[in-house]
Amino acid sequence: MKKDKKEHALNFETPFQYAPAPESTAPVKLKERYALFIDGKFQAPSKGIYLPSINPATEETLALVAVADESDVNKAVKAAANAYKGVWGKLPGKERAKYIYRIARILQERAREFAILETMNGGKPIRESRDIDIPLAAAHFFYYAGWADKLDYAFPGRKAQALGVAGQIIPWNFPLLMAAWKIAPALATGNTVVLKPAETTPLTALLLAELIQEADLPPGVVNIITGAGETGAAIVRHPLVNKIAFTGSTEVGKLIQRSLAGTDKRYTLELGGKAANIIFEDAALDQAVEGIINAIFFNQGHVCCAGSRLFVQESVADQVMRKLRDRMSTLRIGDPLDKNTDIGAINSKEQLQKIQGLVKKGIAEGGDMYQADCSIPKKGFWFKPTLFTGVSASSTIVKEEIFGPVLSIQTFRTADEVIEKANNTPYGLSGGVWTDKGSKIFKVSKQLKAGVVWANTYNKFDPTSPFGGYKESGLGREGGLHGLAPYVHLV
């Protein structure tokens, strides 16, 4: 979409340029290499293979990280099984709680260090890791710590029993936060854990392993092992694993579901999404525009619940587009460690190529592309905030999850029409509704087939609030009371 020359244009080429305000990396003391955290100790991988983990904003190697093979996975699972049988499974809830509280507290104390490392390893803006990822991770531990001795109240008429060993595989978009989402409820319900962080972003999970040592958690209760897909697959198929919790792509989620067929293993899957964000004409438009920005550009769009399909009611479409473009002019893309950066680096070269490929397809299929006018650093992986208009439900970029800062925009006329369009996808993780009319909110949010609906807000998360998808966006819930259920047997 091109700017109409006749428009009265605001001027965002400003003399008020914010000087660089980079966060110091001094609090982060990285080791040269990281072994596997098994049974309370860092242990070298059996084959001795280590791979570099880089900073996607600079492409510099931050540390070497071990690759766990099947025998390492076996060691970790056995450690977890022994810890479950020997210690953790017998520990009263109130004692488990205190360990988890302790983790939460230390995480709060060391929040700055975690935030900086998260940004270095993942490319997300320090503003987000500092204000969202790390505080929320600590909050998750706090929240579930409190449940550990109250499980008798969580399931009326039933008694909750731990499952045993939980194998947990997490993605690269919220590395520490996802670790917290997984570990906290598992420990609270009395399970032990083998966690595998994503291969591009293992460092905060390994720092968490150090923190867990510091918290003096009994050895084997939490094991953190690194590696790529094959390591994850070994966890999934290990016979002593009782439950799999996976967050990642729908494609891999389906593979996991398939490979668990015929076993008694429980599983929860948090998968992809292609959420509709719906702006009605009676919305508080300026806040809705901010909501659009939040929905798609938060964490470079590396968010499974990103509002990547925007639907704007025709009567306000021009207005919203103009505001949106002007708002995009003020987005600052660049050094993720700079406190003023709004959009950081794309997490990996591979992901960048995927985004580029889909955007190319979007153009080839006739979509009109608009990109924010901003410069990007020479080194590292970057993608400018991007809008597509002139697309329809059949366009590839409207159908497929891009997992990047790319928004497709369509218009609609009536509520029924937009509900139908919004639900016309195999995904069902989240959705957004913007209107000033209360009854419309309830109508639309009820009819959206999605696990989380943000009305007049977007991309909000809280440990007390269950999160998870309908349809191919996954199954099971994480967070809140409902996040306990996947980790227990009810008898």
Binding site: Q257, P426, K460, G480
Partner: protein, 288 residues
């Protein structure tokens, strides 16, 4: 069901129940249902994959409207099913006995089935209060989580019971706003077919419950792999368990694997309703 009466009794044709109608299998096939001692007692339709697909279409079509009914109304309808079943006890008794039940067993199962319907009817407007939550988030937002129907549920009934296994799975699924496509016990299909008639007479809208009889081995893969089925509730083991769970991954189908003795009172609970419910969480700012 031959008797020694003077007049020649007419025999019942057991048909499928799809979209509120009672068709034969589109394939024209049927199979002989045998008594314990191996005598043929009736013909049942041998549902085809096409029948299954038609039933799924009907279930999908009916689902939004069924879920949109008030909880009170769904409860009334479930209670109505119980009333109608109570009124047709004699026929079900006869069918169960023909399929190998003793009078005592049949009486027990029939009573349990009616009571189970009453039990779930009562849950229609209560489970939400127990499994919902208002979540005290750390920001200026009102946040609540409520259960919502998963959508279309495939139900593969256990083999050994004629009625209670069927009722125990249908009731919790539909009371929560799902519609379902049920495959009855293969060897004891008669009550399932007749239960369709009870449903039909009980204000259950067309398509909400669809009942097939036939070969589990033949249909199981279509059930599990169908992209428009949201969840499968089933009793299975061994290879068929593996087939179901593996094919279900095609659309991340929810697999609810239940093996229970449905005659037991403890095998009814709102947790069975929750098996086919999603949790939806809604956020809204609090301000002026």
């Amino acid at each position: 069901m031959a008797t020694k009466a003077n007049r020649l009794e007419i025999l019942k044709t057991y048909k499928l129940y799809i979209d509120g109608k009672f068709p034969r299998s589109e394939s024209g096939r049927h199979y002989l249902v045998k008594s314990k001692n191996g005598n043929g007692i009736a013909n049942a339709c041998l549902a085809s994959r096409k029948d299954l697909r038609d039933a799924i279409v009907a279930a999908r079509k009916a689902q939004d409207a069924w879920a949109a009914r008030s909880a009170y109304n769904r409860g009334q309808i479930l209670y109505r099913i119980a009333e109608m079943l109570e009124g047709r006890k004699a026929q079900f008794m006869e069918e169960m006995i023909a399929q190998g039940y003793t009078v005592g067993q049949a009486t027990n199962e029939l009573q349990s089935s009616i009571d189970r319907l009453v039990h779930y009817a009562g849950w229609s407007d209560k489970y939400q209060a127990i499994f919902s939550a208002v979540n005290p988030v750390d920001s200026s937002h009102f946040n609540f989580s409520v259960p919502e129907a998963m959508g279309v549920v495939g139900i593969l009934c256990e083999e050994k019971s004629a009625l209670i296994g069927l009722v125990s799975l249908i009731a919790p699924a539909i009371v929560g706003g799902n519609t379902c496509v049920v495959l009855s016990s293969e060897s004891k299909p008669l009550c399932a077919s007749t239960f369709g008639e009870v449903l039909h007479a009980s204000d259950v809208p067309a398509g909400v419950v669809n009942i097939l009889t036939g070969s589990r081995a033949e249909l199981i893969k279509t059930y599990a792999s169908h992209m428009d089925v949201n969840a499968l509730v089933f009793d299975a083991s061994g290879e068929s368990l593996k087939t179901i769970q593996s094919e279900a991954a095609a659309n991340v189908k929810r697999c609810i694997h239940l093996m229970d003795d449905w005659s037991q009172a403890k095998s009814q609970s709102p947790y069975h309703i929750m098996n086919t419910q999603e949790i939806k969480t809604t956020w809204h700012p609090i301000g002026v």
